[in-house]
């Protein structure tokens, strides 16, 4: 492993430092309170438990239901049926309501699609929460009551593949919502599924010296894998709703309850705090259970606690996306044209599949392959009876990087050019000078760290112990979430409260999910309040978000809290300083403009010997804390984006088919490192998914019933400490955004290129490409056997 200590562009006391997380002590010693702890300690007497039927069928309708036995079971407090008039009166909902889609409907950050019915009478995938919900005195009684519900089903054939969705046999899963059966209408008015076209693709095609073709799928078979299962505790009485949850978005959850339950916003309180790593899970659409549990609470007159079980947590996945890509290039490695066909296989409900098959390609044409001028993009997406796909860490970008950077690898191989040179020649964003400085920097650094000069031509790599072949691969992508891209998120609120003893309470409301925005906020607060000699240890970051307390929270997606909130802090600190000057002026018999604050003293600029200490300003008057509050709009200056590069070294055992990832190097240009240790954790930790999805994570369907067979942590294989490869994280500050810090997100991007780099490395080792993940030993052996057969045929 190679240790790289990054060189900060600007040396600061705390921002950018290698330091422990601010809450490392509480987390290590088990003192952090998670949602599952909310019912302990008698805080909510008379709490009962909620549960919802999970459909055993992938495609079925309830034609009759008898809940009398369940209702008669002792301990059952409320039963809510799919045919309940109050439930049926609810309008449709969408997958992303409570996530980063901000409430105004013209400013979605994620496309919404209103296809979800609260407690529906029909199931569209196995595990669909539908039919009936129960509240009872214990979880065991809930389960027993759900088992006592007698249901007559009309069961229909199951279809799991996009090509089957439009066949005559397939049911129309969402009548009236699609342009043709099960095929959704994408945004825009276009012919033959061509959603985006620039330049002259036919000319590029006809003049190409070399072409590359990939047809690959990614997604549909992986789980977010969070250990802190989703849930809520909700009370609804006297016209007031109180909701405790581990949802990572406080205010949007409140808006959701307001929208569907018609309760004034000031009578709804949502509280959240720490949340276990969720990897995007809150966007998946099951949040309908908030509304169902609210009704159970209202009818029972009791607080209702609901927490998903392990099986429910496995009923969503990364969007299953197939890309068919054709690249057209010249002999010098210049890629002159690209055709992309994106085919989305949705589950029973919409995830933001338009993002995967349409928007991501258009965005990427600006952000990462802008030099490729001739493009044609086709996009389509279909409903099936799979579990729904949706937002998962690295959304869309992973799926597109996988076939595209392998196509680039093919071009490089055909031309005998180093893939790094082909990438430098053809990649970069549309706003930055070309060739792209950030791209070149991360590629060069990564090549150095992995030892790229050890890479040999495909199949000619070193043979180790007579049975393993070594290979190297590379991938690149843009980082995401520069400040200018976050305008749809709305304004950002931050407040400092300087207490009489000069300790500071920092109110930068966000749910700490591990992304570490809270640590970056504390370090930025300390740096900006350096005139008070404040250290991070003097600052208390408020770890609980309470919608009754005022400030709107900022959701912790892609570690953006790490810089969006700190960007508001210089102004907040200036307000604190102004108030010290205003109060100090009264004590120094001077005008505020004549004063300055430094070293925890308010002094006369023209005569620094005239001063009062800040402690005295606070303590000698009235001990009223100084409260500074800022509402900041993002800096909208378009600054382009930085890049990341991923390198992998693998050894493939040609006897067992086992792939051992020997080393992953990832180099991420983030503009400004806000917390070096936290950022490295994002880089390292992302490989839990990046390497896991490449090699082991795989949801297995029963093709006949549509049931997932390994929906648990024993049979769904996530990497543990014993499986984790050597990883060398490297941070860079080459690009810079518009703000004081000018950072970009890291958490989403940190895994984008890993599976692709591994795929390219495996090809470099054994000369075989795989069109889907994970690359299992069986797939390797089958592919080697097929290759051998083909080469035998060619020889004959």
């Amino acid at each position: 492993m190679t240790k790289t200590v990054y060189e900060p562009r600007v040396k600061r006391n705390y921002v950018g430092a290698y330091r422990p997380k601010i809450d490392a002590r509480e987390k290590t010693l088990g003192k952090v309170r998670f949602f599952q702890d909310v019912t302990l300690g008698g805080m909510f007497p008379n709490t009962i438990y909620g549960g919802i039927l999970q459909s055993p069928y992938a495609n079925a309708t309830i034609v009759g239901m008898d809940t009398s036995d369940a209702e008669a079971l002792p301990g059952v407090r409320a039963v809510l049926r799919y045919d309940d008039p109050e439930i049926r009166a609810l309008k449709l909902t969408t997958h992303a309501w409570t996530d980063t889609a901000v409430t105004p409907f013209h400013r979605d950050t994620i496309p919404r699609f209103f296809d979800r019915v609260f407690l529906p009478g029909s199931a569209k995938h196995v595990g669909d929460q539908m039919g009936v919900a129960v509240a009872a005195d214990s979880p065991d009684i809930v389960h027993e009551a759900l088992k006592l519900v007698k249901i007559e089903w009309d069961v229909h054939p199951v279809f799991l593949e996009a090509e089957d969705a439009v066949s005559a046999k397939a049911d129309d899963l969402h009548p009236g919502l699609c342009e043709e059966k099960n095929k959704i209408k994408l945004h825009g008015d276009f012919q033959d599924d061509v959603s985006f076209e620039t330049g002259d693709i036919e000319k590029a095609k006809s003049e190409a010296d070399v072409t590359a073709h990939t047809d690959m799928v990614y997604g549909g078979n992986v789980s977010h894998g969070t250990l802190d299962f989703r849930g809520l505790l909700i009370k609804w009485d006297s016209g007031r709703i109180d909701c405790w949850t581990n949802h990572y978005y406080t205010d949007q959850t409140r808006m959701y309850l307001h929208e569907y339950l018609d309760v004034p916003i000031n009578r709804i309180r949502v509280v959240n705090g720490h949340c276990g790593a969720h990897m995007g899970k809150w966007n998946m659409g099951e949040d309908g259970y908030y509304i169902i549990m609210a009704f159970l609470a209202k009818r029972s007159g009791r607080p209702v606690y609901y927490r998903m079980d392990v099986h429910e947590e496995f009923h969503d996945t990364r969007n299953l996306t197939r890309f068919v890509i054709d690249l057209y290039a010249k002999n010098d490695g210049a890629i002159t044209g690209m055709e992309i066909e994106g085919i989305g296989t949705m589950g029973g409900y919409y995830g933001p599949m338009e993002y995967n098959v349409q928007f991501i390609v258009e965005e990427s044409a600006e952000r990462i392959f802008a030099p490729i001028k001739n493009l044609r993009v086709r996009s389509k997406a279909y409903f099936t009876n799979r579990v729904p796909g949706g937002v998962m860490r690295g959304i869309g970008n992973l799926q597109l990087c996988w076939p595209l950077l392998q196509a680039v690898d093919i071009i490089a191989e055909k031309l005998g050019i180093d893939p790094i040179d082909v990438i430098k020649k053809n990649f970069g964003d549309m706003w930055s000078p070309y060739p792209n400085e950030s791209l070149a920097a991360v590629l060069d650094k990564g090549a150095e760290l992995i030892g790229w000069d050890r890479r040999r031509k495909t199949g000619e790599g070193e043979l180790i112990d007579g049975r393993s072949k070594r290979g190297f691969g590379v991938a690149v992508w843009n980082q995401w979430h520069a400040e200018w891209q976050e305008n749809a998120r709305g304004r950002i609120e931050v407040a400092f409260r300087v207490n009489p003893d000069l300790s500071v309470t920092l109110i930068s409301p966000t749910c700490e999910t591990g992304a570490g925005g809270n640590s970056a906020c504390v370090f930025a607060c300390a740096d900006n309040l350096s005139f008070l000699n404040i250290t991070p240890e003097d600052i208390h970051w408020v770890p609980v978000n309470d919608s009754d307390l005022g400030l709107k929270d900022c959701p912790p997606t892609d570690s953006i809290v790490s810089f969006l909130m700190p960007e508001a802090m210089p102004e907040c600190a200036a307000k604190v300083k102004d108030e010290f000057k205003r109060r100090g002026a009264l004590m120094l018999d001077a005008e505020p403009d004549e004063l300055d604050v430094d070293d925890a003293k308010v002094f006369v600029k023209s005569d620094p010997s005239r001063f009062v200490t800040c402690w005295s300003v606070m303590m000698d008057v009235d001990c009223v804390p100084i409260y500074a509050h800022v509402v900041r709009s993002n800096n909208k200056t378009v600054t382009g984006l930085p890049c990341g590069a991923w390198f992998a070294e693998v050894e493939v055992d040609i006897e067992t088919g086992e792939i051992e990832v020997k080393h992953v190097v990832l180099v991420n240009d983030v503009g400004q490192v806000m917390h070096a240790s936290g950022a490295e954790s994002q880089q390292l930790g992302a490989q839990e998914l990046g390497v896991g999805e490449a090699l082991t994570e795989d949801l297995q369907y029963d093709r006949r019933t549509g049931a997932i067979l390994n929906r648990n942590y024993l049979d769904y294989k996530m990497l543990t400490a014993a499986d984790f490869p050597e990883i060398s994280p490297c941070l860079m500050e080459v690009w810079k955004g518009a703000g004081k810090y000018g950072a970009a997100g890291l958490a989403e991007a940190a895994l984008t290129g890993t599976p692709t780099a591994i795929g390219n490395a495996v090809h470099n080792a054994i000369g075989v490409r795989f069109d889907s993940l994970p690359i299992t030993p069986k797939k390797v052996l089958d592919a080697l056997e097929k290759k051998e057969r083909q080469s035998g045929k060619e020889e004959r």
């Binding site: 250990l227 591990g514 570490g516 240790s677 994002q682």
Partner: protein, 168 residues
């Protein structure tokens, strides 16, 4: 014959439970620790023995508290994360981890107490574990944040701290 009462120590204090009154005979140890004693450092997740979040020490050895009945702890010593403070060499190594190249030893922190206790169990048996031995010992735990490099390094540092104390 079923016992009417069970008694075990938790973090050094005797705890007595009457079966059928205080707890049910099939109550899991994790449930009793959390709901009867308020020890929320014991985390509940998979409840299948796959994730390690509920790990506690039983007579110094790591066990999955969601996979055993509380009655089976009768007469034994249970230790949870709440028994440790920041001066503990393992805990402090997790807390302080910020060495360049290793990230931190936790992100969300949900799984962290389980790792700390597993590390304690390992180091009580093997004061100088090799890296592979550490990986093997921790392999029953899932950290979805993927902080394994920081965690392994923290265990190495803890081992060094313990050896340093013993050398004195």
């Amino acid at each position: 014959m079923e016992k009417e009462k069970i008694c075990f120590t938790v973090n050094g204090e005797d705890q007595v439970f009457e079966i059928g009154r205080d707890i049910e005979s099939d109550a899991r140890l994790s449930t009793v620790l959390r709901e009867k004693l308020g020890l929320t450092g014991v985390r509940i997740s998979c409840e299948q023995g796959a994730c390690g979040a509920c790990t506690v020490l039983l007579d110094g050895k790591s066990v999955l508290s969601c996979m055993m009945f509380a009655v089976d702890a009768d007469g034994r010593e249970v230790t949870t994360i709440e028994a440790f403070g920041e001066s503990d060499p393992v805990a402090s190594s997790f807390i302080e981890m910020a060495e360049p190249g290793y990230g931190t030893a936790m992100q969300c922190g949900f799984c962290t107490p389980g790792f700390v206790l597993e590390a304690h169990a390992l180091l009580s048996e093997n004061a100088s574990p090799a890296k592979d031995e550490i990986k093997e010992a921790l392999s029953g735990h899932i950290c979805r944040c993927g902080c394994y490099h920081g965690i392994i390094r923290a265990v190495e540092n803890a081992a060094e701290k313990i050896r340093e104390v013993e050398r004195r």
